[in-house]
Symmetry: C2
Subunit: 362 residues, 2 copies
DNA sequence: CTGAAAGCGCTTACAG
DNA sequence: CTGAAAGCGCTTACAG
């Protein structure tokens, strides 16, 4: 007979120094589906059916309700290990991102993990992003067997390594066309960059440059394309552009060169907040004031956007929502549905790093 | 910093799944311990003993080697669900932190998750940090059954909710005395703050103030205490201090007040990089140059430390190592060992936000 | 509509 | 030193 009780009952149990249960399964054992079945006066099979919501047309409503009540009274929670063993699933999803230390991907992960937790699944991060190209088996090195994969912002080259795993794949922030993904979830980055361009145009800026990320992925290509198109359509095309690695210091070096052009640009649109922070750094070194002499915009709305002075005007990407939506899509695929492609809205967050275009010659 | 998505070529890598699929449910079924046993000519029990490294004195060395070889040849990896079901463990560890969005805790989590993965365990984050005080059962709301708990930088009040769970507990960045933790892992924060103080004293600063975190936890109390003691011992005690919430904007407001004192302080030691960024903001608004007029130091070495201009001199805390060491300690507890208390070294990273004390009257 | 039974892959007493 | 056997808690055909 299984008991359930609070920790206080532990005091009565003998605790050897080298414990009887080295696995840490302390305390009285939890109620099982057998206990629920007994209490509800049904079989274990009925309990399983009802609790997994597969009972319609197979169990009578009153019995289903009785099962639910018994489960509630007992505080029953299914043993995930048993369920997985029986069902063949592993309960773990691999999240592949290009850089683990990046705050954006940390937020994507948080969003995905939260949704996974609701379903008793867990998320493992791909542990060595550097090795994703030549690694013969990225999945084995993940240290777990997998039910599916979510990949974010990957280069198409790196994506090849993800195929052939035969696992359901959901792509985030990636080309919705031509992938073998079962579903995609994308922030509307083109619209975001258009917002940034319009924001600067409205402030009177006419000499705008683009500090692009030196990363060959769909998301950054789209950013550059959308910005250039928007400005050109307004009759004030980009007057310059350059690429920098996603690193504040590297970006500062490249931005300094961009700012050396004459007439000097009055605004720089950056693909990413990290690049924008680099641009601000460059401005400061060059003796330019932000925003009086130079306006700067970023993308992401990371913590550093409000940490720098002035704070960054930026395009907020819904990182957590992307992770959550991606996980939800993957769960749908696992359930046999075809979720398709989703686009999430983004918004411009105006802050201190942008202002009216300086008047007079540059 | 890692470059996003920039992976080496993977040409030559076979795209077709070869042999037994390492990925689990899809494709041909994975080899089981039974397959290994068959191939090695032993029983399943022997395989289990050998592969879990519990074979000494129970299995002859040649047979043990044969088992290992068979497992290698087959690409055998144990089914975690089966192992957990049998052993009673759940394979999941709860990590409780005060703020999920904080980069420091994200790094602690990464370190813990990496070590956990090596052992086939997974880490769940406490999902609602706000609720940790009054929550009647934080464990149930974690959405999973647990083998143990790691808690970082928690207020003692919040800690009470963690007791009574009856689960093995490892504390990070917390008071090593008087807790019911089985083990603690702490960065040497007092030494870190002493370093900051010495660094400024050596640069000639005599009017130093402390911008403290308005958070009532052991780690921040220790920081203030160590700094005050170090400066007092040198004959140049703190000339002021104030507390601010861990938020750049809030810190800037408080720092402005600190900097209004006359004679003006020449250096501000901050409990955290976020506070230091706020202090830099305040300096800029006040018209003070960093570091010419004011030196600023932080603690953590977050990404923002190098994103701001000038970059922050800071005390680097080994966040990943703490998470990893904490997980290792917890695994030892689970194995029946008593790991005790560990202190991890910290180091001062001098950057542009500190310089020689300004000469002349403040 | 419902229950009895088999079995997922592993670990652990237990008997040799 | 080694193997046969039981069983962890669940889900799923299958037989009523």
């Amino acid at each position: 007979m299984n008991r359930r009780g609070d920790a206080a009952t532990d005091e009565g149990t003998p605790t050897e120094p080298v414990g009887p249960s080295p696995t840490g399964a302390a305390g009285p054992s939890r109620p099982t589906s057998r206990d629920v079945a007994e209490r509800a006066g049904v079989s274990q099979a009925t309990v399983s059916l009802v609790l997994r919501d597969r009972w319609r047309g197979r169990v009578s409503p009153p019995r289903a309700e009785a099962v639910r009540e018994a489960a509630r009274e007992l505080g029953y929670r299914p043993n995930l290990a048993a369920r997985r063993l029986r069902s063949g699933g592993t309960g773990t999803i691999l999240l592949v991102v290009p850089a683990l230390t990046n705050e954006f991907f940390a937020r994507v992960h948080a969003g995905a993990a939260a949704v996974a937790a609701e379903r008793g699944m867990s998320v493992v991060l791909f542990p060595s992003p550097e090795g994703i190209g030549p690694a013969p088996d990225p999945f084995a090195s993940a240290g777990a067997t997998l039910d599916g994969v979510i990949a974010s912002s990957m280069a198409s080259r790196a994506l090849r390594a993800l195929r052939g795993g035969g696992l359901p794949l959901v792509m985030l922030d990636s080309d919705p066309e031509g992938t073998e993904a079962a579903a995609t979830v994308n922030p509307d980055v083109p619209e975001g960059l258009r917002w940034a361009g319009r924001h600067l145009l409205a402030a009177g800026h006419r000499r705008i440059v683009h500090l692009a990320a030196d990363v060959d992925t769909w998301t950054f290509r789209e950013r550059g394309r959308a910005l250039a198109a928007e400005l050109a359509a307004a009759g004030h095309p980009l007057v310059g552009s350059a690429r920098a690695a996603l690193d504040v210091r590297a970006a500062a070096v490249v931005a300094e060169a961009l700012l050396a052009a004459r007439p000097r640009p009055t605004a720089v649109v950056c693909d990413d907040d990290v690049l924008a922070a680099g641009a601000c750094k460059a401005a400061r070194r060059t003796g330019l004031r932000v925003p009086e002499d130079l306006s700067v915009t970023g993308v992401d709305d990371l913590a550093l956007a409000t940490a720098v002075e002035p704070e960054l005007t930026t395009v907020r990407l819904p990182a957590e929502e992307m992770g959550g939506a991606g996980m939800r899509a993957l769960l749908e695929v696992l359930d046999g549905d075809a979720p398709g492609n989703r686009v999430l809205p983004v918004r411009l967050v105006p802050r201190g790093s942008t202002g009216p275009a300086p008047t007079g010659p540059g």
